[in-house]
């Protein structure tokens, strides 16, 4: 299984992230998001941030998760490389997410950005579960 793949899109960046579990899919999607901006080999997990989210369904959770990544990237001025995610599905079907993400503050001398992701679009946004989980996203850059 490849963790994610980028697809052709003229103005923006489109990718699909995969996972054997929804946790893995969400972690891979976050990796794809940051790789679209900067070489992940240059990101060290020096600091940890916590993320807690709740959403009525997986599609909403995936959207909120990626929006949170953009928010933290911008307000913490940091890039992330490790994503440890715990999910819990409640009786109503809603999801709770506890995430610990590792990364470091942006240092433009080491982090050569090719793009800046500014938002997560809902265009063609999709979560699918067949043999494995798949999340498709178009990023606004």
């Amino acid at each position: 299984m490849i963790p994610f793949e980028y697809l052709e899109h003229t103005a923006d960046i489109k990718f699909r992230a995969y996972g054997k579990s929804p946790e893995e899919m969400l972690a891979n999607a976050a990796s794809a998001l940051f790789k679209a901006m900067v070489d992940p080999a240059t990101i060290k997990a020096l600091e940890a941030w916590k993320v807690e989210l709740e959403a009525p369904n997986m599609e909403q959770l995936a959207y909120d998760w990626l929006c949170e990544m953009v928010f933290l990237f911008e307000t913490e001025s940091a890039v992330f490389a490790t994503f440890a995610i715990k999910l819990q599905q409640n009786e109503s079907g809603s999801w709770s997410l506890y995430g610990e993400i590792g990364g470091e503050r942006i240092d433009l001398k080491r982090h050569a950005f090719e793009n800046e992701v500014k938002a997560i679009t809902l265009h063609e946004f999709q979560v699918k579960k067949n043999d494995m989980w798949c999340l498709q996203v178009v990023l606004d850059v």
């Binding site: 003229t10 950005f113 800046e116």
Partner: protein
Amino acid sequence: MADINKIDDCIYEVPVGYRPGMRVPGRIFVSSALREMVEPGTVDQVANVATLPGIVKYSMAMPDAHWGYGFPIGGVAAFREDDGIISPGGVGFDINCGVRMLRSDLEAQSVQPHMDTLIDALFSAIPSGLGSTGRLHVTDRQLNEAFVAGSKWALEEGYGFEADLAHCEESGRMAGAETAQVSVKARKRGRPQLGTLGSGNHFLEIQRVEEIFDEAVAKQFGLFRGQITIMIHCGSRGAGHQICTDHLDVLSKAVRKYNIDIPDKQLACAPLSSPEAKNYFGGMVCAANYAWANRHIIAHWTREVFERYFPGSKLDLVYDVAHNVAKIEEHDVDGKRERLYVHRKGATRAFGPSRSEVPDAYRAVGQPVLIPGSMGTPSYVLCGNDRALKITFGSACHGAGRVMSRSHAIKMFNGKNVKAALNKEGIVVKATSPSMLAEEAPQVYKPSGDVVDVVHNLRIATKVAKLVPLGVSKG
């Protein structure tokens, strides 16, 4: 482009039935050469917009149109107030991304020898690039005032001149701001970024007026051949992106609540009479005003730099236009005056002399329409024409329009080479992230001249001046 009918020179129709649910036809304004560059995805998006409730006349795409999300980039659509909708997908994330143009009283030959120094000074004076935060440290109260009063707030804080307001779309302050619709997250992103250029295709450029197409109008706009002009291209930064994100979420739920069938989730919308629509509009106006305050402050710092190197020089505002916004406007629809919500996403308002929204200084001719080129290619100043009201609800193109994806551009070009190629043409470029220059290489855009010619030939807006870049400060 299958199933698209040419109905006139530079006008192609996407017929009702191209996709199910279309309420009106689509109109794509392109020359036969540019038609080849229109991706099928763009046509689909024009058709998607045509399915939205209350759409009037046509779903339109300007000649620079390209595949986006929700509306195509270069998309224009108007919705009736009584049964129409508002959609953040028709505005974009960077609410009021736009262009501000200053004219100097300096001739290029006196400025060009100092271009390196000048660009260096502008680059340090105006924070730009990824994660750039401001020289400004505004309080929550000041931020609120910027959301409500835009450029007027900035003027009261001591930036710019009174005359700047008169030479700005909406006088730099759009009515209807609702600060309650700006989330804590949007404030957190927006507060440190006021007075910053940002990254991506945003820039500050020093230009030379290379050609005048219309002497009389150029005189009205204060432009002459060989003149130094400045173009500032940026928007509402993280504040606008977060306001859009927050309301997109609310409107996604509204779609279900009001039973609206949308072909693309990014076209999330709500009936104009609903609280969800009113709340989005109030938040969007806050972002629009933030963007005007942002460009107003950046223009002020630009003037300070010029004053340092060219004491006594004057930089007057020609005009400031929004490229991404939804506005309430009155238009004639089949002989009846109607209030419409006109969405322009990657499109410029292009009002002619008959409209009261055009500033007094330009009422005799029409508003300046500012079309930035891509980095290294010419920009154009056009003049709004009343004919645009009949064809496009008074709208024109906003730039060159991409033809190559960012990922493809990064594979094809290298940021450093792009910079070297521009230097070779005598264009000074300074960028925070040179690696990001690749995706903005001139070759990834359609030729700006071709795009502008379509608008000119349709008499939507007519050419006044061509500007060439001399120096660029980028994020």
